[in-house]
């Protein structure tokens, strides 16, 4: 027994000791996808890179989306940063400010045929500071409406694209549509917010599209403007859908658009892959307009290199390799690109087997006109400080203005804090 114990322990120790230490030419690349299709595409890049760098091994490490920023931060804080990885837009200012990301501009400039100017300036906004470049977006994915055409047909309603063509695709129209299509008997809701999570950590993905399309924003400069009359009016629409019409999935419940349990939702096009086995017809449409017209929202993700990576130069080269024109075109199958040349191409319009070229044109349009989600150096703290406050919105008798005023007093503290 003793010998077995010794063997096991030594094995365990050896396993652990080698785990954190990377070899000279090994790159550790963190991602939040576990999808085999995504990973095999990424591995294609790794293989392609080997042609010029035969000794380089790249491993893609999957960290679940929900914990991604946390785990990466812990690795960095613990002094074991990955070499490179994916990074979400909301985290960019915090990470740039904390001096964690490598400035890759020199490498990109030195790469032949990289065509840096092709990257759309609006998409690069978050990742550039003066002349420094801290990441290259590989996915600029707009929020779009997904609708269940079968349910619309059964009810004899125009679909959102038809309404959009007539200029009638507004939040009010969406509310009416959801109200008509909701069917409590069948357990079908009219509307589900993004990934059904609008009440928790991702309440921002619910508030921001509404508020912006009504002409407001969560803050301007150092002042929170969420308690403005416009913002309150906008959110009231959604509140009424939950509590008056009972057409939207309420807190604590699960609708599921992708299984036919909700007639409408909005999310990013990568979710189309969840519809492969759907037994209903569906389509995508632009986000509805509010009082101030349309205000498309883009979710963004970039490839970054971590400053303390032991293989920083190599990692920067791989970043340049992945995000050159050919690389971006390859990734467009899953991730709408930030390169103007790719976005306008027929190749892009035909890149997603699940979506028709006309649907992809909607995507391209929204990207061109969209703005990214709000971000701030203190974003993690802002989110935590307001979490409890926003929970108060989801009651039938909630006073939205009062809740937003309380949220603003918390947000303002963080906006001005250095």
């Amino acid at each position: 027994m003793i010998m077995r114990f010794i063997k096991l322990t030594t094995a365990a120790l050896a396993l652990g000791m080698t785990a954190g230490v990377s070899q000279a030419d090994d790159l550790r690349f963190t991602v939040w996808t576990g999808s085999e299709a995504h990973l095999s595409m990424l591995n294609e890049f790794a293989d392609g890179f080997k042609a010029t760098h035969p000794n380089t091994n790249i491993t893609f490490e999957t960290i679940p989306f929900a914990d991604y920023v946390q785990k990466i931060s812990l690795q960095i804080g613990g002094g074991n940063p990955p070499d490179m990885g994916w990074m979400l837009e909301g985290t960019a200012p915090t990470f740039i400010q904390s001096n964690i990301l490598a400035d890759v501009s020199d490498t990109l400039q030195a790469t032949a045929n990289y065509n840096f100017e092709d990257l759309s300036p609006s998409a690069m906004g978050l990742w550039q500071k003066d002349d420094a470049v801290y990441g290259v977006p590989f996915s600029t994915s707009p929020f779009v409406i997904f609708y269940n055409q079968s349910l619309l047909d059964a009810a004899g309603l125009d679909n959102p694209n038809e309404l959009h063509a007539k200029g009638e695709w507004t939040w009010g129209a969406l509310r009416d549509m959801a109200d008509t299509l909701a069917d409590a008997e069948q357990g079908i809701y009219g509307f589900e917010t993004m990934d059904g999570q609008g009440y928790d950590g991702r309440v921002w993905e619910v508030l921001v599209p509404l508020v912006r399309s009504y002409g407001g924003d969560v803050w301007q400069g150092d002042t929170c403007t969420l308690n403005s009359a416009t913002a309150v009016e906008a959110v009231q629409v959604y509140h009424d859908m939950i509590f008056k019409d009972q057409s939207a999935v309420p807190p604590g419940e699960m609708g599921d658009f992708f299984n036919g349990k909700a007639a409408l939702t909005y999310t990013q096009i990568s979710r189309a892959s969840k519809l492969d086995e759907a037994d209903f017809d569906w389509g995508i449409a632009p986000m509805p307009s509010g009082k101030a017209g349309s205000a498309p929202i883009i979710g963004q993700a970039a490839v970054v290199v971590f400053k303390d990576s032991p293989n920083r130069a190599l990692a920067e080269e791989f970043l340049a390799y992945m995000t050159n024109e050919a690389g971006v075109a390859r990734m467009a199958e899953f991730f709408p690109p930030a390169r103007a040349s790719v976005l306008g191409s027929d190749a892009f319009l035909n890149s997603n087997s699940r979506l028709t070229p006309s649907a992809m044109r909607i995507v391209a349009n929204e990207i061109n006109n969209g703005s990214v989600m709000p971000s701030h150096v203190n974003m993690p703290v802002i989110k935590s400080a307001t979490r409890g406050t926003f929970d108060k919105l989801w009651k039938a008798d909630a006073d939205i203005e009062a809740v937003f005023t309380e949220a603003c007093s918390r947000i303002n503290k963080q906006l001005t804090r250095k």
């Binding site: 000791m17 999808s35 999957t62 804080g77 002094g79 059904g196 999570q197």
Partner: protein, 297 residues
């Protein structure tokens, strides 16, 4: 140390012998009450298994069903495709085995010394050790995080082994072993010393072989403790391939965080049912192991 014996009380309830129908009614009420109380203890397991066999659309259906319309056994296949659940299951198993064996070894050594060897500082050290018995892991997790980072042990299983062994679970085990060794008469060991055994020899050849029941209890408690650990894996492990079962269970959501209840229930069933089966077979031993932790010192 008192051992728990589930002897039946030989006292008869006088009130129940009065009238036959009254006695009968009493019986029925008695069992009905006990069964009623059982509901919240059993229902979660039933609901878990039922959910694990439903399709994704049936699981959110309203009103829900207890017996699925069609049994979707594929769920139990899909969980292994969704994430490396077999690897994760193995991780939990081997970590629990290493933790258990380490605790048995370290705790029986220390427990023996505290029980049988009179040495300077023993009482003070034992007291110090006991101060760690009750301390929540949250108190020390922050410095331990930095310690493990410095040792380059992040995203490895080493912290998940070291911290339980030398944390509260190891201390409980030390305490149990000490209690047990104290109950062994000194005469038994003296005979060994006469035969020329060293102190370690006495421990290894005489005391340890006698301590089977205590070691078994320590093993059961340590294994379950490690198997159930959540905070430490959460802090120290980030790679899916290195996840343990509790972390993996919480990760059955689609790429964007929406829970996939049907897969989650299937995975949870796989994590829970083997332990439950072993428990039902060996419940006497297992229950007694837990009972030992309450024995006052």
């Amino acid at each position: 140390m008192s051992t728990l014996v589930f002897s039946k009380s030989n006292r008869k309830d006088a009130a129940m012998t009065d009238v036959p129908w009254k006695r009968y009614l009493n019986r029925v009420l008695w069992y009905a009450t006990l069964l009623g109380v059982s509901v919240p203890f059993v229902f979660p397991f039933i609901w878990m298994v039922s959910g694990s066999l439903k399709s994704q659309s049936e699981i959110t259906a309203f009103p829900p069903t207890i017996i699925p319309e069609t049994f979707r056994w594929e769920n139990y296949v899909e969980i292994f495709q969704y994430q490396p659940f077999a690897q994760q299951y193995f991780n939990s198993l081997y970590i629990a085995v290493v933790v258990t064996i380490s605790i048995m070894f370290v705790a029986s050594l220390a427990g023996y010394a505290f029980a049988k060897i009179k040495f300077k500082g023993a009482n003070l050290v034992f007291l110090l050790l006991l101060s760690g018995l009750m301390m929540p892991e949250e108190v020390t997790i922050i410095p331990n995080f930095f310690a493990m980072s410095t040792l380059n042990l992040m995203n490895s299983h080493v912290p998940l082994i070291l911290l339980p062994v030398f944390g509260s679970q190891g201390i409980i085990a030390t305490f149990l072993m000490r209690q047990f060794f104290m109950s062994i008469p000194n005469e038994v060991e003296e005979a060994g010393i006469m035969d020329g055994l060293s102190r370690f020899g006495v421990f290894w050849r005489i005391a340890l072989p006698l301590s089977g029941p205590a070691l078994a209890a320590v093993a059961i408690l340590s294994f379950l403790h490690s198997w159930n650990l959540l905070l430490e894996p959460l802090v120290f492990v980030s790679d899916l391939d290195k996840f343990t079962v509790p972390l993996a269970l919480n990760n059955f959501s689609d790429a964007y965080g929406l829970p996939l209840w049907h897969l989650q229930m299937a995975a949870t069933s796989l994590a829970v049912i083997p332990v439950l089966l072993i428990y039902v077979i060996a419940q006497r031993h297992i229950v007694q192991s837990f009972a030992m932790t309450g024995v006052k010192g």
